[in-house]
Symmetry: C2
Subunit: 371 residues, 2 copies
């Protein structure tokens, strides 16, 4: 499933090739989020035009609406969404555990209340794999127990043990019910406690996984603790394992995590920021709905060649966002997704040319400077 | 500006060619509405892909936001919006008169309160032409006084007299300030009173106009009264004048109005209906968000070849609308605008082939039948 093509010498960054039944893509890569079966505001032909490698969709949301049977009857998620590249389904663990007062947890699974209609639902780890396979996912992720930050060692330990227990059960169920073409990821919990991270890692590798999802980070922990977690596992014997940092992140976080050897990212930031009128540029974020852009005839990012930047000024985009026209969000979302894609392209090119360390330094010195 | 290419023999329908400084288009045609400088949910390249002939934008809205100076500084509406075909600006009369309690009217102009921030604004007929020329419109429409339906003969008469007075003043101001490339339309009021319609018509033709906007209809009047108005002016000596039925309409209204010799239409219906999950098909409107479509793998309209119908099922579109994903509105808007474009194409083809009468009969017998 994953092959390291080149290891950077100055950092832990690496160039890789990830292969799923939908084809191969170079890493590090970034998957836009299509929570409910669509990247908000972007059609599938636009995703292909931009050249995204794949998407993350959410099993929990799609299970509630439209329901697994609807997607299955449509021929699976790819046909339903008209998207033919790699689709990962998130187990929904994070969403379920965000429900806080609405859920009850036991070793058997989670009992929770739907955020849509309040219906009580009980899902076992097996159910969660069955849902993802039913949706037609290319890469499935077992149910895990997320803890919030901060959390005590004892809490994190209990959650880690349960996560591993569920991973074991999920893997068995997966082997019994899935064909070979689908990939099975392990999900790493343990909060910021390195001994628990180590425990999870050893257990998951023992189990046999196609890749490692790093969960329980990017949830408000201080940066030094985050990088503590990321820095410890590249010395593991299984350093060649595919590493996917779930929910990360902003450009400066991504480039940092790449230098710790992360291969895949997903994040709602490009589309979520677009909805509030924020665009990513090589000089940092700009809030284009603000007054200074009222007569600005330049594109969002002068270095960008996307459809939005080739055809529309900041002044026009500001106007659209300002008068709440959805085209404004569409055009900003398109640019932001394109900008992220291009950002990862440049990261890979830098690694390939042995220039990643300098590229990172240069990028960070410009990013956030005055626009 | 306008040439009749062919007169239908069985009805008053006609095939024409309308030429503006942005090129020529065949009539009858339909212009989507871009009130605030965008067709809601549709990018300009999508409009070109669909092949729309032009757009109607609204001077009142653009005057308030982003303001004429912003659009002027951007190089005019076409550059601002990145749309290079014909743009008509609506005078805003209809919008201002919709404000009811917020406006005061005199022969000099209208005093009204902005619906955005409540600011008091006074606009003269000259201001309204100046705004449209400043925006860079290809076809301008003078300020008019709209009356609601029903309205007494006396009210309609006063409004008609004022509308004509303003048209005269606007035409003079237009001649003094505009270059030859911009077209000037007259706007016909008079409610459902034929003597007043006749009065306005004679006055406008006396004034010299490039085309006739039919105002004050499509505002709730009974169909027979509407067609009374439409039927009387094709016997006028100026029957070769370009006729634009503002704000009309739904497919069955358009095809009827074509048979009365209307050349151009605009309406918010295709995009407004899309936002509520309604799609146009050759068999009538379908409300795709409804339960019967949950597993419907067919496209919105099996006879449609648009991007939406070529790639997405009713089941997927229903899901998107249902979970309030903007892509649902985008894909439905695209289809609806495409469907309208195709509908007018078919109407023109029928006239060209001397089959319009039968086409209309056939269309109406199918439209609204069970989907």
């Amino acid at each position: 499933m994953f092959k390291i093509l080149k290891q950077d010498l100055q950092t832990k960054a690496r160039l890789g090739l990830c292969t799923t039944r939908k084809g191969s893509f170079k890493t590090p890569s970034f998957f836009p989020v299509a929570t409910q079966g669509t990247v908000k505001g972007i059609s599938s032909r636009e995703l292909n035009e931009i050249g995204v490698d794949g998407l993350l969709t959410n099993a929990y949301h799609l299970y509630l609406r439209p329901g697994v049977e609807v997607v299955k009857s449509a021929g699976g998620l790819h046909k339903f969404m008209n998207f033919d590249k790699t689709i990962i389904t998130d187990s929904g663990g994070y969403q379920i555990f965000s429900l806080k007062n609405l859920r009850k947890i036991s070793d058997k699974g989670v009992n929770f209340q739907s955020h849509i209609d309040g219906a009580r639902i009980f899902l076992t780890p097996n159910d969660v794999i069955e849902i993802q396979l039913g949706l037609g996912s290319d890469i499935v992720v077992p149910l895990d127990e997320c803890v919030s930050y901060p959390c005590t060692h004892q809490e994190a330990k209990e959650a880690s043990i349960r996560t591993i227990k569920w991973a074991r059960q999920s893997k068995k169920y997966f082997q019994d019910t899935s064909d070979d073409s689908v990939l099975f990821m392990g999900i790493l919990q343990g909060s910021t406690h390195l001994d628990l991270r180590k425990y999870c890692l050893d257990e998951l590798f023992g189990l046999g996984i196609d890749g490692l999802c790093i969960g329980g980070l990017s949830i408000g922990e201080p940066q030094d603790l985050r990088y503590n977690v990321l820095s410890f596992f590249h010395d593991e014997p299984n350093s060649s394992c595919f590493r996917y940092f779930m929910g990360c992140g902003k450009p400066e976080e991504i480039i940092e995590a790449v230098s710790y050897g992360i291969d895949l990212f997903d994040c709602v930031v490009p589309t979520r920021y677009a909805r509030t009128g924020t665009a990513f540029t090589n000089l940092g974020e700009i809030i284009v709905r603000n007054a200074p852009y009222i007569n600005d005839k330049t594109p969002l990012d002068v270095e960008c060649e996307c459809y939005t930047c080739s055809n529309f000024s900041r002044a026009y985009l500001r106007h659209l966002i300002n008068v709440k026209e959805m085209l404004g969000v569409q055009l900003l979302s398109y640019h932001n997704i394109h900008w992220y894609k291009n950002f990862l392209d440049r990261i890979r090119a830098a690694i390939a040319e042995d220039k990643f360390f300098d590229f990172k330094k240069d990028f960070l010195s410009k990013y956030g400077s005055k626009n």
